[in-house]
Amino acid sequence: MVNLSLYVDIKKKFDDFDLAIKLECEDDVTAILGGSGCGKSLTLRCIAGIVTPDSGRIVINGQVVFDSDTKINIPTRDRGVGYLFQNYALFPTMTVFGNIASVIKKPKAERVAVAEDIIAKFKLEGVKNLYPREISGGQSQRVALARMLVTNPKIIMLDEPFSALDTHLRWHMEQEMAATLGNFSGSTIFVSHDRDEAYRLSHKIAIMDRGRLDCFGHKQEIFDAPKTRIAAMMTGCKNISAAKKLGENLVRAVDWGIDIVTDEAVEDCIKFVGIRAHHLQMASFSGCNNFDINVHKIINEPFEDVMLFTFEGEAQLQMAMPKDVKGERKMLVHIPHDKIMLLK
């Protein structure tokens, strides 16, 4: 059996949706990707014991911390989970040193030594006597990470760790985080709504939608061949249409008003098709999967243009184009056979 460090199977009713999630994690980094309000942070809170599920079971490193059948519910402080909050939740009335030292349960001399050690490791010597309100977002994140790791957590959970940072800082802090997580031996769960960030930091990706796990797998599989509409959307697919099977390798994109030939065999249960904006190609002659389009608008982005167009149907599609290509009013677009995504 693989080293299973986290097992979650929980249900909880809320006013606007029901959380029902089953997740198994090994000693690697799992990203939970989902839109706002999909229940991804709630899942972390249930694992930490901040929120109590209605029913189910949570096991961390072989220890049952919650089981509704046997009435086990270990309090948060004894679960040994590291939780990095979105706003870092530093103690505002303590200095950086105090924030870190206060969580070390050792005699005073030893506590100071351990705190000094981790402060040096996280390059916080310069700010150690400052209060949280006096340090930058990046430094705050480092303090929160140091404070969390010094308690030797069994698993680490990160709730949107970069959303409180300025864009130019994010990349840098992300690399730091990746290095830190690389040294951590347990499993890490990381909640995000940013697909790029999730892809860069994680090994596996779980996609959540309205309280449910939509799909879960290795990140490359999820990005290369999403199986569901939600997964396609969350991995950044801009063009999705309702679909109907016409033949073994022929599918009708209802919203686009076209029939598409596919390499992959079309299953009976197909509900949607998707094509990524940068997989669409311009064509100069008619042929298989080449369709007439009506151009509606060209939107200029910093390094490429995005063309909004329709085929026969009502729904608009997006296509990424290099800056130097000029779109014309009437032209042809090619949908590559191997790039069309068949979704449930």
Binding site: R45, R77, F85
Partner: protein, 222 residues
């Protein structure tokens, strides 16, 4: 002139403020995250503030009178509440409690709950969270509550006179002394007590405002 009311007032106000401080703090900490029954508990805790002082005094008399259950029980140990300084302290705690409780609760409610959760994940006990995180974070509100309680205890009249009476040198506090002096037509003595009480109240409000502006400045620095 008899200056014993001054000493008695300070004594009653100090002791009752200390008791109110802890009671109010614990009550606030208990109720501010209460899921069920918060409304009713809050109403009961706030009631002494709204009740006419004579009604509060009547309740206390019924509770601590020698024929009552509590009063009778304490009497077995030789502890008397009615017509004693202890009674004056109890009356002051009773009426000042809501001020401490409500101000502290308001301050606790301002705390970002994620900070409390973070402390829990970091292994802090409830006791440690309360004393090292919640209380320091709510410091300004808690101090304001303590000052208000002290001021309220100092000015307490109605419930005190009903429970502790008006015994010169034993339970006659400054605010009762004003009443007694005016009743006896001794305006000069009344003036002195009024002047002392007014200036003390003035200083306390100044202190509170100073604490509040100090807190704002510190926040603004972030």
């Amino acid at each position: 002139m008899d200056f014993r009311p001054f000493a008695l007032s300070i004594q009653v106000a100090l002791i009752s403020t200390i008791i109110t401080f802890f009671l109010g703090l614990l009550a606030a900490n208990w109720t501010y995250r209460l899921k069920r029954g918060k409304g009713i508990v809050d109403t009961i805790f706030t009631l002494p503030m709204i009740l006419p002082p004579t009604v509060a005094g009547f309740f206390l008399l019924q509770m601590f009178g020698r024929n009552s259950f509590i009063g009778g029980f304490l009497d077995n140990f030789g502890i008397r509440i009615v017509f004693t300084l202890t009674g004056a302290v109890i009356a002051s705690v009773f009426v000042a409690f809501p001020l401490m409780y409500r101000t502290a609760r308001g301050a606790f409610e301002q705390i970002d709950q994620n900070i409390i959760y973070a402390a829990e994940t970091l292994g802090f006990s409830k006791f440690k969270i309360f004393w090292t995180i919640k209380v320091p974070m709510a410091k300004a509100g808690i101090l304001a509550g303590a000052v208000l309680s002290f001021a309220r205890a100092l000015g307490e009249f109605g419930a005190t006179i009903m429970l502790a009476g008006n015994i010169p040198g034993r339970t006659q506090t400054m605010s009762i002394a004003v009443f007694t002096a005016v009743s006896a037509g001794n305006n000069q003595v009344a003036y002195i007590w009024v002047a002392i009480l007014t200036s003390m109240s003035f200083v306390m409000i100044m202190l509170m405002n100073f604490a509040a502006s100090h807190k704002r400045k510190r926040r603004g620095g972030g």
